[in-house]
Amino acid sequence: MKRRNFIKKATLTSIGTVIGAEIVFAHMMPEGYVPLAIQDPDPFKMFAKNKEMVVLNDRPWNMEAQAHLLNEKITSSQYMFIRNNGKIPENIDIKNWKVVFDGESIKAPKTYTLEELKSKFQQHTYQLTLECGGNGRSEFDPPAKGNQWTVGAVSCATWTGVRLRDVLEDVGIKDNAVYIGYHAADTHLSGDPTKEPISRGAPMAKVMQDETLLAFKMNGKEIPLAHGYPLRLIAGGWPASVSGKWITGISVRDKVHDGTKMTGTAYRVPCEPVEPGEKVKDEDMCIIESMPVKSLITYPKTGATIDEGKKLNINGHAWAGELAVTKMEYSIDFGSNWVSCEIEPAVNRLAWQHFSASISFPKKGYYEVWARATDAQGDSQPMVLPGWNPKGYLNNACHRIAVKVK
């Protein structure tokens, strides 16, 4: 025991060297306590995530699902991707949690407590699709910078909260309002307190939609910490970075919000198509708004082997940003023939829709089942990668699974 303690102390001292600061009061630390700076906890336990989730990054935390994990109609927390830009806030005090409304286009700044937001405004619940703008980035060639998401940075949970529109009406905004920008309690990775890890927003037309919420519940429970507890802005159908977590302020701007990750190349794509690998000037990059049409086969898991003569039942989800999905098809011959799937209407606007099909295979062999959704404007998912862009956003290429018939 004594040796252990000695090692523990020696370790703390060496940690002090590593983190570049003396650990003051190291001897006062509770037994068994590991300083936060060097904590390497089990993220699956810490965030209550399923073990099959894939960790892309641990500082900041970024974790995605695999297609077959997303089979539920309403995504539960254990399968919801995490995309963080900074450090998760600590010591959240919900009694004193305040949201400050300010900005050029506000009549007079106003502050609400969490309790006031909950009690003063009518509450609404919607199921809303949140997809990371960079979902599918890993497929771009030449590779795009950032977390290399495959297919699992999408979720569709139910969110309960108050309409941002109702709150803004109560605050009082000017006619010249153009955009809102959110501010949040997460902190910058560099530790610089003057920097916001992310401060994005949306134009007023999106802000004023029924489904744009300041939410305090996810799937009927308090929002998990990693997903924005105690308050999250929810803007379904848009890059999930618009749905800011740990909200402490909303600025109503008289211009396009210029917070962190609103400018430069962040969450922007070339205004005009470019050659793969081309350098694009910042001023030629346009902000991503509604996400493109996309679908995911969530059952069965890729790699299924079935006996000849048996039918394969597949199902999954399809979504199209602000639009509805009007047609769903599958192909087992690499797009030579497309067969229609059943597609259910959405439970509400901006929620994903469920599709299913029963597939017969003509003979033994290796197959790929490809799925293709078409939105209300007639746009379909491409089979190859869509237009290359420097940051690798908006990959809505068809999802496929491998199947063997023996």
């Binding site: 497929e139 060639d141 910078k145 790699g303």
Partner: protein, 160 residues
């Protein structure tokens, strides 16, 4: 003269005693502090220590261990420029953010510029070239084409 001499001797003695006292005190405090360093919980004075989890220990004894060509703490590959990369590129973000990305030297340089302009990254000096060389050598760009084949499929029997 004698009186003065006596007085002087007296003062010297006084100062000597004070010094001894002060040094003894410092010595006692030092002993105490040294003990605190080795046993902050005073476990030697307790019957038993029931605490169990010191998760940090095993990792930190071997802070920069390399096993099978992998720097264990960061997951980075062993190679020329490894420690420069570890020491400059894993302070703010995880090494996972580095190894996920495949870029040529130009794009790494642009990325470093961006981190310096916006993310408080320091001037890397001569290490910049070493780090970029390390990255393009150990994490080269892979051609993926317009759509890659499905890979690493884990085949299984699908039950009804």
């Amino acid at each position: 003269m004698d009186d003065k001499h006596q007085e002087f001797r007296h003062s010297v003695k006084k100062i000597y005693h004070t010094i001894v006292a002060v040094f003894s005190l410092v010595g006692i405090v030092a002993c105490f502090l040294i003990y605190m360093l080795t046993d902050p919980g005073f476990s030697a004075f307790r019957e038993s220590d029931t605490s169990t989890s010191y998760t940090a220990i095993d990792k930190d004894e071997n802070w920069d261990t390399i096993e099978n060509g992998i720097h264990i703490r960061t997951g980075l590959k062993e190679g020329e420029g490894l420690m420069e990369t570890v020491n400059n590129c894993t302070n703010c973000h995880s090494a996972k953010l580095v190894t996920q990305n495949r870029m040529d030297a130009n794009r790494w340089a642009t990325t470093i510029d961006w981190m310096q302009e916006t993310q408080n990254l320091w001037d890397l000096g001569q290490n910049e070239e070493i780090i970029i060389n390390y990255l393009v050598t150990n994490y080269p760009v892979l051609k993926k084409g317009r759509r890659a084949a499905l890979e690493n499929i884990e085949w299984y029997e699908l039950e009804d």
